[in-house]
């Protein structure tokens, strides 16, 4: 299964539920396109829910970083929610875990914006 993205609005926060694999090709470009689309619509508060992400490679990590900087450069914030162990480990060994604002609870993540 490739990546599946669905978005919902909680107050002024756009929550993106991501499921599947974020890998080079379809998976990472779908995430990139979705984030660029949100930035172009001036959505400034974006919460990426990665709870259903089964796999992420270095290209997928690159897309998370790219999304983070793109949103920040437009004056917004991109935060991460529900990392599974595999994604959390990857962000830790690449020293990105402390770069992102990571949350385990959706309500708390929403309030943090």
């Amino acid at each position: 299964m490739s990546v599946k993205l669905s978005t919902r609005q909680v107050g002024d926060v756009t929550v993106v539920d991501v499921a599947g694999r974020i890998t080079l090709g379809e998976g990472s470009s779908a995430l990139r396109d979705a984030l660029r689309d949100m930035v172009s619509k001036s959505q400034k508060k974006i919460l990426l829910n990665l709870g259903e992400v089964s796999y992420i490679d270095s290209s997928g990590i690159g897309e998370l970083v790219s999304g983070f900087t793109t949103v920040a450069n437009s004056g917004g914030q991109l935060k991460l929610l529900n990392l599974n162990k595999r994604v959390k480990d990857l962000l830790q060994i690449t020293k990105l875990y402390t770069v992102f604002d990571v949350h385990e609870d959706e309500a708390g993540a929403i309030r943090s914006f």
Partner: protein, 146 residues
């Protein structure tokens, strides 16, 4: 005495097209051999990821998706270790130019983490230029940690 199936040496070699489908094929092949060799789920994840990153390097950066160029992929194991070799037919590159993805100035780069992840997940890693052109990566995972 019957031989344990984990102790039966096995080697598989394929010449793969320079496509992203080949990345999936190589991962599948490697995981099949690694599973039969007796690696646990955590190691299988690491091996699969290292294979994907190596294959992406070969297909994308080495052969640049050139349909005339192939990636030679082999995976084998004995009772002690799993060995993978991934060779492209690309121009090669200066290994010294690979930036450190953990350096503060590189943390927000959107690429350049592939080799680092392979090194992190495998027990041995070697890159070499091939005499006839191209680059070969050798990855080793021990069946029993040292």
């Amino acid at each position: 005495m019957r031989e344990n199936k984990h102790d039966v040496p096995e080697t598989v070699e394929r010449y793969l097209d320079s496509t992203l489908d080949s990345v999936d094929s190589a991962e599948e092949l490697a995981l099949g051999v690694a599973q039969r060799a007796g690696f646990d789920e955590d190691d299988l994840m690491k091996i699969g990821m290292a294979v994907r990153e190596s294959m992406v390097n070969a297909v994308v950066h080495g052969n640049r998706y050139n349909s005339h160029k192939k990636v030679r992929f082999s995976v084998g194991h004995n009772s002690e270790r799993l060995t993978l070799r991934i060779a492209d037919e690309g121009e090669g590159f200066d290994f010294a130019t690979i930036p450190d993805p953990l350096a503060p100035e590189n943390l927000l780069r959107t690429s350049g983490r592939g080799i680092f992840l392979i090194r992190s997940f495998m027990d041995e890693f070697e890159m070499r230029h091939l005499d006839l052109g191209g680059t070969e990566l050798t990855l080793v995972k021990y069946l029993v940690s040292k």
